[in-house]
Amino acid sequence: MNNRIINWFKFASPQTFYPLAGKMIPWFWALTALFGIAGLYIGFFVAPTDAQQGEGYRIIFIHVPASWMSMFIYLVMAFWAALGLGFNTRLSGMMASALAPTGALMAFLSLWTGALWGKPMWGTWWVWDARLTSELILFFLYIGFIALQSAIDDPRRADKAGAVLALVGVVNIPIIYFSVKWWNTLHQGASVSLTRSPSMAQTMLWGMLLMALAFWMYSIAVSLARVRAIILERERHAGWVADLEEVRS
C-alpha cells in the first residue's frame, strides 16, 4: 500500500515524468489515429443523411467533441492548478499551462465550426444563444489564463497566479452559464432553440462518441508533448537535462 503511494508521487517530479511522458505520447497518437479514422469513417460513410439538415449536419462530428473537450480541459486545468497550489508541486503548474493552449484551441474550433454550421441551418453565422455565448466567454477565460502566464517572467509565480485565476474561473463558469441562459430566455426574440434535440440515429451517436475519444486522446498527446517542452525549458540548468540524448546531440 505504502509502496503504491510512493510510486505515484515519484512521477510528480519533472525528471521522472519527462521520460514517462515520452513513452506515452506515441500510444496516445496511435489511439487518436485509430479513433479518428473510425469516427470519420462512420461520420462520413455510415451515418445516414439527416432528414432535416441534409449533409451539413456532419459538422457536428467535429463541433460537439470540440465543445466537450473545451469544457473538460478547463476542469482538468483547474484540477492541476488546485493540486499545484495545495501540494506545491512544480509539475502540476506545468500541466496546467500545457493544457491551456489546447483548451483555447478547442473553444475556438467549437465557435468556428458552430458558425459554419449555423449559417446553413439558421441562416446566420452567430446567434446570442446561451451555449454560444458561454463558449465565447470560456474562450476569453482561456485567453486570460494564457496572457497572465506569459506576462509573468518568474515561472513559479506564473504557475501560482494562473492557478488562482483558473480556480476563480472554475467557480464562475456555472454562474456565467446560468446567467447567460437566463439572459437568453428573457430575450426570446433573437434566440434559436437548441434544446429540443432531435432524436439521433444510433450510428450518428457512435460517430460522435468515437470522435470525442479521438479529440480526447489528441488533447492528451499534445499536452504531454507540450509539457515535455516546458520541462526542458524550465529545467535547462538541471544536470539530468544535459545528460539527455536529445539534448546532447
Partner: protein
Amino acid sequence: MDGPSLPAALGAVIRRDLLLAMRRKSDVLTTLFFFIIVVSLFPLGVGPEMAMLRQIAPGVLWVAALLATMLSLNRLFAADHADGTLEQMALSAVPLGVLVTGKVIAHWLLSGLPLALLAPVLGLQFDLAAGSLAVLVVSLLIGTPVLSLIGAVGAALTLGVRGGGVLVSLLVLPLYVPVLIFGAGAVEADLTGLGATAHLSLLAAFLALAAFFGPWATTVALRIALE
C-alpha cells in the same frame, strides 16, 4: 503581542485609503469623468431617438460602469506595492484578508458609490422614468461592490506584471458578465413592467458570494505576488 482589534484595523485601512484619495482627487475624478464621457458618447454614435435610447440605457450605463471600475482597479494595490506598504500589511498581526477587505471597501466608496450616485443624472439623458432610475441606482449599489471584489483578485494577480493595466481587463471582464446581465437586466425588467426584485435578489446573492470568496482569493494572489 496584541494587535489592534479587527474592526479597528478595518476602519483604519478604509480611513487611510480615503484620506490618500482625498489628497489626490484627480484619480477619483478621472474615473468619474470617464464614466460620464463614455455614457454621453452613445447617443452621438447611435442617434438621438428617445425610444431607442431608453431601450439601450440600462446596458450602456452598466457597461460604462464596468469599464470605469476596471480602469480604477490599478490604484487598488499598485501604489502600496511600489512603496512597500503592502509587504508591511502582509507582515502585520492583523490577517491580510481583513486589510484587503478594507481596501476593497475603500475602493468601492471611491469608485462604485460615486458611479451609483451619478447614474440617475446620466439616466435622465436617456429619458428613463423616475422608477427606473431608482432601480438603476439600487442595482448599481448592489452590483458595483461585486465588481470591486472580483476586480481586486485581478488587480492582485497582475501586481507588478508587464502590461498589468491591459491584462487586468482581460482577466476581469469575462468574470463581470453575470453582474452585467443582472444589473442591466434589473433596469430592463423594470422598464418592461416585469419587476426587478428577482434580478436584484440575484445580484445580492452574487454580492454575498463575492464578499465571502473575493478577499480570500485576493489574499492568496497577493501573497503570490509578494513572494
